[in-house]
Amino acid sequence: MTKIQTGLRINGADHRLEADPRTTLLDALRHHLHLTGSKKGCDHGQCGACTVLVNGRRINACLALACMHDGDEITTIEGIGSDESRSALQEAFLACDGFQCGYCTPGQICSATAMLREAADGWPSHVSPDLNGPVTLNAREIAERMSGNICRCSAYSGIVDAIGQVAKGGVK
């Protein structure tokens, strides 16, 4: 199959990808661009392990073809923070033990990063008492908004605590 050229801006750096058009954004990141922080848990958009930000919004990278994102601004876990300079969420996940095996963790943190922004922008969720905001990120709101990110180790208590801590401290 003829390869297709795609320009992606990932974590602030430009990347040129020449790949089979069937290549998902997730596989492009993991196996072409060596950004293996984004994880493949199901390849069906059912687990959230592959969550990345595209132009600031969270998506499942396994459900997107890389070539559909020509010119888009993509943020992966590697762009959220490094292990020398961690984001507030990364610190909070460490402190609250918001993970065990670590496989869903990059997706959880990317998802939470975008979720905090959604809440700050007043987006309601299924459990919001008022569709017109403002949103108060209590444990129930956080749990609902993070239910697209499955954790089989079931670190949900720590995940909710970690996000709650950051939400209280304001969105960074």
Binding site: M1, D20, R22, D27, R30, H31, H32, H34, T36, G37, S38, K39, K40, G41, C42, D43, H44, Q46, C47, A49, T76, E78, I80, G81, S82, D83, R86, Q90, F93, L94, A95, D97, F99, Q100, C101, G102, Y103, C104, T105, P106, I109, V127, A139, R140, I142, A143, E144, S147, G148, N149, I150, C151, R152, C153, S154, A155, Y156, S157, G158, V160
Partner: protein
């Protein structure tokens, strides 16, 4: 230097005399910074992107033989390198600790969804496309799908036990229960799909894999390939969960190794999520009959626990559902029988707490039924039936905090606020109830080795092929070494998951911390003796703390004392204490649920687990282990059900949208409390396993709460709304 210990006798609590104060602390995971930044590398990511990619192809019959495979269309596709069928490929994963290859020769099909071929191409997209183009013809044979009608059912003598006059006790009982409970197949469903990357260097194979027990996996892989284990190295530094499904070598590893050899290039094989559901092991469905007989005061006079489980023909493993029933409660007369139906369903194997996880659903429901029948508090019923010694073999318990867990849990949870009349508490549309269950999980010590090196800069390095599958092994081994050598956590580096290191115990059976932790402890004891010799004192006269050795008033920095790196290997083996003492960890679960009287939806509102599991090495990772187990319990109680098509046994719901594991909003606030305990008979660091304790009994607390909320007793798991609706008041 080597230090070996066979656990033949009680051990003194050496760790208690150490000064560093690292063990037991609530420390963040030492490998955590890598995981939260996406830099922990899992098996599928260990290549450089130039490796070829293999995709497994599944059988679409339940029983028979592959007559032919026409790979012409597949091979004609661009980038397709090879279609591999090889008599060494394995049809299913090895069972935990098998140490040899599982059933080989994929031309023989014994369940729908088993692998029959591997398509190898330059890229994943090419291989995935080509995998759909194989024209596979079969010779179909009659299959057994349904455990009710299976032609071959075994009733092993070794799984039968009759003690006392069981039937008489049932007949004479003041109160008795005779109930049948069923649980469906379940899937471990770890977040990381099973993956392998194989690379050959001459005759030597390096396999990056997602495995729990490397020393066995290495022998299993070598056996499957027909090569010497010395030529196999397995690396699993980070494993994205296992829960039993990564205990034994799997089809992906053997196929990747064969393919890499055949094409002279590294090959990566990663299962799709659908394949994880049908090609890795499942937990067997169970049919369980529990019979309880009691006197007027609720003292058990008889316990019977019969089961029917299933597995593929020839598989030695069968779900040991009665494992906790044997020792948890007294009762002079006892009866057990297990039938094993031979089915053409995905291989059954060990999933988190094999035995207790589903066996205690039935036992603890039956205890709840008996308490209700007698008008006795369920906590009190359990307290009255804690036996002095093992009720079948008379062994004493090594340590047992069950009674304390029950009473402490009842206090912490506010159990006295429970309405004893089922269905009596209503909040709008919601019926609210409380339930509880005991927790018990056998404690096992497994042979393990670990090497500890004291470096010239005063830091230490721990090396073992033990894995950390999310359990906290990196952290706790560093804490044990730090405690013994007087080092801060950041001064101990732990290297795991590589068969180039000394063989640990592997992760499984909740035995990792006690076994490998003890091996690290022993190595450090040896190093302490060597340091003391250099200081001219007995090890007992020397205090190690913050990198400094103190003897009387003399202080010496470890970095000044160690002029050349010192190394010791610790080696622990189970011994007489295993035979002489009944060893188990115990606990109590409490749950509050609300059941919607109109829709039948159950929401777990809060849950508490109180556990006594010997010394807790790291409060943070231990608590998370228990959370994880309890949430597995919520899944088993309410949603998890791996459905087999009645025609061909195929897994109908082979994805995470249809196999319902708990998601964030399904889980309420959870609390875990540990009781202070030491177990000197278990191992020298006096721990007991906790990885599976949290699930044992957890689901029964939830379903007992449903009964308390609604008065409806559902004995067919999971308790989905369709089973509650007919009995609800609306």
């Amino acid at each position: 230097m080597n230090k070996h210990l066979k656990m033949d006798e009680r051990q003194s609590d050496v760790l208690a005399d150490m000064a560093q104060g690292t063990v037991g602390r609530e420390l963040a995971r030492s490998e955590g910074p890598l995981k939260v930044s996406g830099r922990a590398v899992y098996a599928a990511e260990s290549g450089d992107g130039t490796e070829a990619v293999g995709v497994l192809v599944r059988a679409t019959i339940a029983n028979g033989r592959v007559a032919s495979i026409d790979a012409g269309d597949a091979l004609a596709l661009e980038g397709v390198l090879r279609v591999i069928t090889d008599s060494r490929m394995v049809r299913r994963p090895a069972q935990g600790t098998a140490n040899g290859a599982p059933a080989q020769d994929t031309s023989q099909v014994d369940h729908f969804g088993q692998p029959v071929a591997l398509v190898v191409a330059d890229t994943f997209e090419q291989a995935r496309h080509a995998a759909h183009l194989l024209d596979i013809r079969y010779g179909v044979e009659t299959a057994d799908i349904d455990p009710e009608t299976a032609r071959e059912v075994e009733t092993p003598e070794g799984k039968r036990l009759e003690q006392g006059a069981f039937d008489t006790a049932m007949d004479d009982a003041a109160a008795s229960i005779d109930a049948i409970y069923t649980t469906p197949s379940q899937s471990a469903a770890p977040m990381e799909p099973h993956a392998a990357l194989a690379r050959w260097d001459g005759d030597r194979l390096t396999l990056h894999g997602a495995y729990q027990m490397l020393k066995y996996n290495r022998n299993e892989l070598a056996d499957a390939l027909g090569i010497h284990p010395d030529n196999v190295r397995i690396v699993s530094r980070y494993v994205g969960g296992g829960f039993g499904s990564k205990l034994g070598i799997g089809p992906e590893a053997v196929a990747a190794a064969i393919a890499a050899r055949a094409i002279g290039r590294p090959v990566r094989v990663v299962m799709s999520r659908a394949q994880v559901f049908e090609m890795t092991s499942r937990r067997s469905e169970t049919w369980q009959r529990v019979r309880l007989a009691a006197d007027r005061d609720g003292r058990l006079t008889a316990i019977g626990h019969d089961a029917r489980v299933s597995n593929l023909p020839g598989e030695a493993f069968s779900e040991p559902v009665q494992i906790a029933t044997h020792f948890l409660y007294g009762g002079a007369s006892r009866h057990y029988e297990t039938r094993i139906a031979r089915l053409n369903r995905t291989c059954a194997g060990s999933m988190r707490a094999p035995g207790e996880a589903v066996g205690m659903l039935a036992l603890e429901n039956a205890m709840d039924e008996l308490a209700h029948h007698l008008g006795l508090d369920p906590v009190e019923l359990r307290l009255r039936n804690i036996p002095e010694r093992h009720p079948e073999n008379g062994k004493p318990f090594s340590s047992r905090g069950l009674a304390d867990c029950l009473t402490t849990g009842a206090d912490l949870f506010g159990w006295n606020r429970r309405n004893t009349r089922p269905g009596a508490k209503r909040e709008g549309e919601w019926l609210v109830g409380l339930g509880m269950a005991s927790a018990a999980r056998s404690n096992i010590l497994s042979e393990a080795q670990a090497r500890v090196r004291l470096n010239t800069d005063g830091t230490a390095t721990v090396e073992t092929d033990m894995t950390d599958i999310g359990t906290g092994t990196y952290s706790i081994l560093g804490q044990v070494a730090g405690e013994m050598l007087g080092l801060a956590p950041e001064d101990v580096t732990v290297e795991l998951g590589d068969t180039a290191f000394p063989p640990g115990s592997g992760s499984g059976g909740s035995w990792g911390a006690g076994s490998v932790g003890s091996a690290v402890f022993l190595a450090c004891q040896d190093l302490r003796a060597a340091l003391a010799a250099r200081l001219g004192c007995d090890p007992g006269e020397m205090t190690l703390k913050d990198g400094v050795a103190t003897v009387s008033n003399r202080q010496t920095r470890l970095s000044d004392l160690v002029d050349e790196a010192m190394e010791a290997t610790g080696h622990i083996e189970p011994g007489d204490t295993k035979q002489e003492m009944q060893q188990a960890a115990f606990g109590a679960h409490f749950a509050e649920v609300a059941v919607n009287s109109v829709t039948g939806e159950t929401r777990v509102r809060r849950m508490l687990g109180v556990f006594a599991a010997g010394r807790i090495l790291n409060l943070k990772t231990a608590r998370s282990q228990c959370f994880g187990g309890m949430i597995f319990g919520i899944g088993a109680a309410l949603t998890e059900n791996l459905v087999h098509d009645p025609r061909d046994g195929h897994v109908v719901n082979r994805d995470l949208a249809e196999y319902h594991i708990p998601v964030n909003l399904d889980v309420p606030r959870l609390d875990v409390a540990f009781l202070e305990e030491r177990d000197p008979w278990a191992n020298p660091i006096q721990t007991k396993g906790i990885g599976e304790l949290g699930i044992s009994g957890a689901g029964a607390a939830v379903t007992n709460a449903i009964f308390n909320a609604t008065g409806i007793r559902v004995r067919d798991y999971p308790v989905t709304l369709d089973k509650l609706l007919p009995g609800l008041p609306g």
